[in-house]
Each structure stands twice: as structure tokens, then as C-alpha cells.
Subunit: 294 residues, 2 copies
């Protein structure tokens, strides 16, 4: 039986790794994104792309993702609409199983360790609200229509090709350029996953029968300072790190960790990269794309 | 300063009472519904109607409302999309304050008395999930954009013009036709509001500065059997009621009551109809529209 997956966000930071991973697992992949000429925000776009792909599976990663701006942008509202229209078109065309990208920002972060179905959901941002609301409708709709749906919650991610200005990318880019990296004290602890591992987790989740929310995370939550130290080590420039030069953001939660049980036990997946290897890989990529400062 | 309100669902069971109530309060009203040629599910419909009405206020009552079917219909998903598109168009055109219709089905009913911001939200149906998800995005979006938004949660409603086959309409129609009315034992208690009072509560809420969820309810929760008794009394045919002829639905919550404090204290509104007067009014309407059985 042929399994055809419609992959959205297919040229994004995470999505670009999925065509190869899904092909390996035996799927015929139809990758779409604005770069392939498909704008899912346009009326009728979802029906057209579903009619062309006739997918049995849907992996929906597309969203508004401009660093910083995505937390509060009204584009989040449009993506709720577009994602529901896509899911309806998929169901109407006989689609069987969908996986959509959620976020750790759906959780109430005050508890620290986030457990699916246990930790209260209390998104503090429009991005988190939009994702949480999409999940609520998508789960109810899929259940009502007798389709299988899983919701992969993304935590923190880094790796080659990350947009500049985020934690790992900004420090790596500075250090391989021979510039100082200004960081906070870095006591906050976060679950960070290498982007290839995150993509692998999405592929494994799609290929499983697990339904509902699943944390896509490493299960470890190093301090931000440890991550910075690994970048400095891989770049060979620890002397350029100015720790404490930037104040810790007010209200930044001390710990955002993921319970890893569903992904490990039910999906049967584990990350391939250690933090050290993942950071070395990332720094090597920055080295290959960055000119040294003069 | 002219206040212009765009009213959706304007010819529905609740909405048809709003044009007069809003005009009394000094609003210029643009009433829309499919009966006025506006299909909000059509792409671009929201932008067109907002461009024509240039509303400062939005009262959004339209939704899929076919009795029975609305709990599970996939139309709920389309109405989430259409409602968000409408709110975006309203905000883009400079709209200031919106009120949207929510539902008591957003609440976890196991606690009995529903209190805004306190009772957990745990919708058990696609309808409840869709409304709850719309609320979550709409509230976050309005806050982000600096607009005022309130969410009026509808509990149980009855009155002249109600669709046949619901509690009050089915008993009233049967009794004024001289036919038997089959009812359950009727131990369940529910907060029922006369439709004109519910419409009045929406008008008062729109005309206030109150934001967030507000229960639109009477604050009383008579047993269903008491409501049936009032219908029988008003119809003068108590002997036609076959109490216990229908089993109580499995899992039907024994109590769905509303805390009435926000509506009474913050909005400053109280219902005008007692249950007895409201039922008499409703039975009189059924008498005026029903032919006696032969």
C-alpha cells in the first residue's frame, strides 16, 4: 500500500530534513512551502495541494517563524485558519493520519518539567495560544472524523542553518568570526535538540500510531551556560565569551524541561546527537559559511 | 461619536432581538446573516462586510446551530476559521470592541457551578472545543492589538421561535397541540434564560467595558421537571405530560449552573423574565403558531 505524505514547511529549518527521512521510511513525499510556489495562506491553496498530492499522511510544519516576531505576530491567527483549512481538505480527501507541530509554549512553564496530559496548558503568548487552540480543534475534529492525529511539541532547537540571532546561532556566529559573544549568566535550563534529531522525531512520530500530544525533546535540560561553553569549546575561542554582559530576561523561567517518556517508550525514538556532537556539527557549519572578521 | 455595530447571526433565534436592543442603546446597527445575503464562510466575505459597515463594534453571534447536529458537526471547524477571519478584518478596519458568543460547553461540567476564570475548561464536544479555541486565540489577538474583547458564554435558552425538538419547544408544542409530551424524570438542573433576556445580556455586555469571559445566565438552575411543570401549567394540560417515559441520557450532568456575579456586578444586568412569565410567553407563542391536532 502506497503511503503518500504531504509535508508542509518543507524548506524550513526543520522541514528541509524531512524529505530524506520520510523517503527512507517508505513514504512518497510531496514537499510544499512558499519556496515551492505553495502559499497555504491563500484561499483554496489547501484544497489544490491536497487534490494534487492525494496524501494518506500529513506532516504539517509550516507556520510563521520569523525569529522574535513570531511570539506576538497577528500572522499566528492566519496560521490557525490556514492549518484548519488544510486539515479539513486532508480529511475530505480521505487522509488517514496527520502530525502537526505544536510547541512547549502551550504549557504553563511555572512547573518546570512539562508532561503531556498532566502539566496544565497556559500559553502566555499569542503564538502559544494559537498553537494550543489549533491543537484543541484539530484533536476534536480528527476524533470526530475517525482519523489519527498526533501533536508534536517542539521545545528548543539548534543546528546548522538556524536563523541568526538565536542562542546557539548568535554565539557560534560571533566566535567563528572572532568577535565577542555577549551572553547572560545562563543559569536557565532548557531542553535543546539538534534539528536533525527533531526532524527524526517528527518522522518517527508520523510513522507510529501514537495519538495526542508528544514532547519532541531530548529529556535533558542543560543550563544555557553549558551550551555556551560547548560552543566556545567547539569554536576554540572561550576567551571571547562575555558571560553576564546581557541581563537575564525578566520573567525568564529557570527551567523548561520535557518529560521524554512518550517519545522514548511509545514512539520508540531517541536522539542520535549528544549535545557536544550536535554543537560541534553546528559550529563547523558556521565556520563553513562565515568569513572571518578583519 | 457614532458607534456602529456589525451584528452577525442577526436573523437567528438570539440575534433577531438584537437590532432593536442595540438601536435603543444608541448604536447604528448593520445586521448580517445568510438571510441578508452574507455568507461569512465564503472567502473574502468578512473583509467585504467590514468594509461596507466600518464598524466600531462587533457582536458576533453567527455559528452553525442545527439542533442536535451542532455538537459534533465539522462545520464547527469552518466557523473557527470564519470567526478569526472576521475578527482580523474588524481589527484591520480599526474596530474597537468585540463581543463573541461562547458557550457553557467550554467548562468542565463535573463541578456543577461554572465560574469564569476559576472552573477548569474541558470541553467534551467538538462544538465546545471549537468555541474554547476561538476564545483563546481571539482573546490573545485582541490583547496583542490593544482592542477590547468580551466573550459571552451562553448557557441554556428558550423562548418564542425556538427550533422544535428542544426541551421547552418540544413540550410546549406537544401540549398546545393536545398531544402527549414524553419527558425524562427531569432531576437534572440547568440555568435557563429567556431568549429576550439573553439578547439583552449581550447588548448590555457590548455596551460595557467588561473584558474576558462572562456567563450570560440567570444565576438560577431549576430542575428540568420544574420547567416542564411550568410549561404544563401555562398550557393548562398537565395530564398530557408522561414523566419518566424517556430515560435520562447517560452521562447527563446533574447540575449545570452559572455563577452570575460578573454579569450582575460588573456588567450591571439582570433578567427581566421570571421562569413563569418566560414560559407563559413561550407557550402563548406556540399557541399562536400551532394548529390543534385532529
Amino acid at each position: 500500500m502506497s503511503r503518500r505524505v504531504l509535508l508542509t514547511g518543507a524548506t524550513g529549518f526543520i522541514g528541509r530534513h524531512l524529505p530524506a527521512l520520510l523517503t527512507e521510511r517508505g513514504y512518497d513525499v510531496t514537499p510544499v512551502s512558499r519556496a515551492t510556489g505553495v502559499d497555504l495562506l491563500a484561499p483554496g491553496a489547501a484544497e489544490a495541494v491536497v487534490a494534487a498530492a492525494q496524501p494518506t499522511h500529513l506532516l504539517h510544519l509550516a507556520w510563521y517563524a520569523v525569529p522574535g516576531a513570531f511570539w506576538t505576530s497577528p500572522e499566528n491567527v492566519r496560521w490557525v485558519e490556514a492549518s484548519l483549512a488544510l486539515l479539513r481538505a486532508f480529511v475530505a480527501a480521505g487522509g488517514e493520519r496527520a502530525v502537526m507541530a505544536g510547541t512547549c509554549a502551550e504549557y504553563d512553564w511555572s512547573g518546570g518539567v512539562c508532561v503531556e496530559g498532566v502539566t496544565p496548558l497556559a500559553p502566555a503568548t499569542l503564538y502559544g495560544r494559537a498553537k494550543n487552540a489549533l491543537r484543541e480543534v484539530a484533536e476534536g475534529y480528527a476524533e470526530q472524523e475517525g482519523r489519527s492525529l498526533a501533536w508534536g511539541r517542539i521545545f528548543f532547537v539548534y543546528g546548522p542553518g538556524e536563523a541568526p540571532g538565536r542562542l546557539v546561532s548568535s554565539v557560534a556566529e560571533a566566535l567563528v568570526s572572532g568577535e565577542e559573544a555577549m551572553t547572560s549568566e545562563g543559569d536557565q535550563r532548557r531542553d535543546f535538540l539538534h534539528v536533525e534529531d527533531l526532524a527524526g522525531a517528527f518522522a518517527a512520530l508520523l510513522d507510529s500510531a501514537v495519538t495526542g500530544p508528544v514532547n519532541l525533546a531530548s529529556g535533558e535540560a542543560p543550563a544555557v551556560r553549558e551550551i555556551v561553553d560547548e560552543v566556545a569549546r567547539a569554536a576554540g575561542r572561550p576567551e571571547l565569551v562575555r558571560r553576564g554582559a546581557v541581563p537575564t530576561r525578566e520573567g525568564d523561567p529557570p527551567l523548561i524541561a520535557a518529560d521524554f517518556t512518550r517519545l522514548r517508550e511509545e514512539v520508540g525514538w531517541r536522539p542520535r546527537h549528544t549535545l557536544r556532537e550536535g554543537i560541534e556539527d553546528t559550529v563547523a557549519w558556521w565556520r563553513s559559511t562565515t568569513l572571518p572578521a578583519r
